[in-house]
Point group: C2
DNA sequence: CACACCTGTGGGAGCGCTCCCACCGCGATG
DNA sequence: CATCGCGGTGGGAGCGCTCCCACAGGTGTG
């Protein structure tokens, strides 16, 4: 087909063109576009009309070049373990982040980091300051990214923290408190041999959940039994394996607290294999209260953390830090809540 | 706290600085950075060393300004229905897109469009050509975005299509074929009163699945019965409602094909409420083979579509189109596969 | 009535890059 | 021996914007 009628994709109008049409200078147009108050009503009206008539949209690259802002933030997800879809936690964070960002004029860059190579790419990218700030989720203790962010003096907010001495801003849930509530609930239902499947302990969230589990037992004067502690990795597979271990070591257990819903789902599979009924023989509690919790059979009692709200809050903290970088980093802990269903 | 020691965040070196250090001109550095072959080995080595020594990273804004490329693509997800986390389909697309993009040097912008206001924001954004291309998923028949993309002559690839006459490039699964396979499977197991819960019929994928269902019954000379067709919206809630309707209208049904796994999960809840056993009384088949399928009780037989691969393929098509825009748009249909589990 | 001061304005400079043209030196060619 | 071609090179121009300085014109003060 002839493309003779093809017109050069309609060269976009520039600031200059708008200025000419409105009969004002470039400076005035720029002031209107950027919402400066130092513009007369008359000039403003003329400029706004010219903008509308020409369909002017500012060129972000030109703006960036001179302001050295990018009006974009990156959400970095280390996808070390599994796929995004099996971790509803990430999806909920994304939803919250995106929602909160929609009200600002920032764009959301999604960066999944699968391997070393991709981490290097990200490093170069951040060094080039191609974003104004970074949201980092699922932080591990030895994760090199937080340090990089500090070195680059790039505004950043974590979900989770490296340790209790975290220097960057962060948002996380009351992991210890949630775990405590879960175990207390099991105790109150008369369970006595309560096991746990932990998350990866190089993540503070996982360590805190284990600590909460221990506290609750301690409070109730239940003697500690390391045989009742299995280590998982937040995944379904890890939950299944952990549960099998536990059943082998302590066949008499009558409850298990899993540090994620996915692990709880895996644990329930292992229990079913072993012929144990949930909750009659073994009560199960998860953590996250993600969609998975509603799809297990029986539905899973779980510790709800406000994941989406955490995403929103991360954005708010990040915007604050971008606005005034020197300030002390804010660190926020959100409450959790036990959602009781049939599994416990 | 005193910030006396505060140093200006280490002004990043420019092309010019590299050129000076390497003892060459700006042009040569630019050629090296952009991989032009027209550079002598000697000059190249000198430049590369200077780059390493200075830690030079090109300024993307400056580059963009002159090339009018952005090296970014947007993945647009109309989040009309529910949350991201309850739709594993989207997560898998994201995973695939991100993986494929990692090998190119493009960035992924994630844009969730929740309402009219956010759509307008996106429209302005696209008009400003702040991305080199767009991936659009979950396309509805009356969706204004595809038309906008055509008008803007912005490279774009859809997942799903508006109709069989789609003019834009797209990738989708063999929806009709998958549905046919599902229903044939049910027929082969001796089911005779096979119902279906459809997706939103303004999406071609949903319409095609319904068509496939009808074809399979037709081939088997099973008389059509509109009472066995309920309309859902791909969500769990829709599946539950649809199933209740079906049970009310045709209590004798012995199988149901649901156009999504989520609806199948909802349908199974409704069946349980009604005291029907799955699969003994009613066999259930879903569509997507998402993580949900493995978490239902019993595990769900489902039509697998290669969602992640679809994401990757969308990126490949988009890159092609960005490279040479005038070409005919490629349209690809990927095969589906029935994964048999215990629900049917 | 001279002066300072404030609001609103125009436009030069310059952000860091790519594009392109001019030019250099060399070996091959007539 | 003059001419050409060609790989390799330097650097001017310019992308579209913001920043900032200079300046116009009005208002208020001594």
């Amino acid at each position: 087909m002839s493309r003779a009628a093809q017109q050069p994709p309609a060269a976009r109008p520039t600031l200059e063109a708008v200025a000419a049409r409105a009969g004002v200078g470039r400076g005035t147009v720029s002031r209107v576009v950027n919402g400066s108050p130092r513009v007369s009503a008359k000039a403003r009206a003329a400029v706004e009309q010219a903008i509308a008539e020409l369909g002017y949209v500012p060129n972000q690259a030109a703006r960036s070049l001179v302001t050295s802002r990018t009006d974009a933030v990156a959400l970095v997800i280390p996808e070390s373990v599994a796929k995004l879809s099996s971790e509803p936690y990430f999806s909920d964070i994304i939803t919250g982040v995106s929602a909160e960002l929609a009200d600002s004029d920032l764009q959301l860059l999604l960066v999944l980091v699968r391997d070393e190579h991709e981490r290097e790419r990200l490093t170069r990218y951040l060094a080039a300051r191609r974003v104004d700030g970074v949201l980092l989720v699922s932080v591990h203790q030895d994760d090199p990214l937080p340090e990089l962010l500090e070195r680059l003096e790039l505004p950043a907010v974590l979900s989770g923290r490296r340790s209790a001495q975290e220097t960057l801003g962060y948002v996380h849930a009351d992991n210890a408190g949630g775990a405590r509530a879960a175990v207390r609930h099991l105790l109150s239902r008369g369970r006595t041999a309560i096991a746990t499947v932990t998350g990866p302990l190089d993540m503070e969230a996982a360590a805190a959940r284990l600590a909460g589990y221990r506290q609750a037992l301690d409070e109730a004067a239940v003697p500690a039994d390391e045989g009742l502690v299995a280590h998982g990795d937040f995944t379904e597979h890890g939950g299944r394996e952990g549960m099998r271990d536990l059943l082998a070591r302590r066949p008499g257990l009558d409850a298990v607290f899993c540090a994620s819903d996915l692990m709880a789902a895996g644990a329930m599979q292992a229990l079913r294999e072993a012929g144990r009924r949930v909750p009659q023989d073994v009560a199960v509690v998860g953590f996250d209260d993600s969609v998975v919790a509603r799809h297990t059979e029986p539905p899973l009692t779980s510790v709800r953390q406000p994941t989406e709200e955490m995403g929103r809050l991360m954005v708010r903290l990040l915007l604050e830090e971008i606005a005034r970088p020197a300030r002390l980093r804010r660190q926020v802990v959100l409450p959790t809540e036990l959602v009781v269903r049939e599994s416990a």
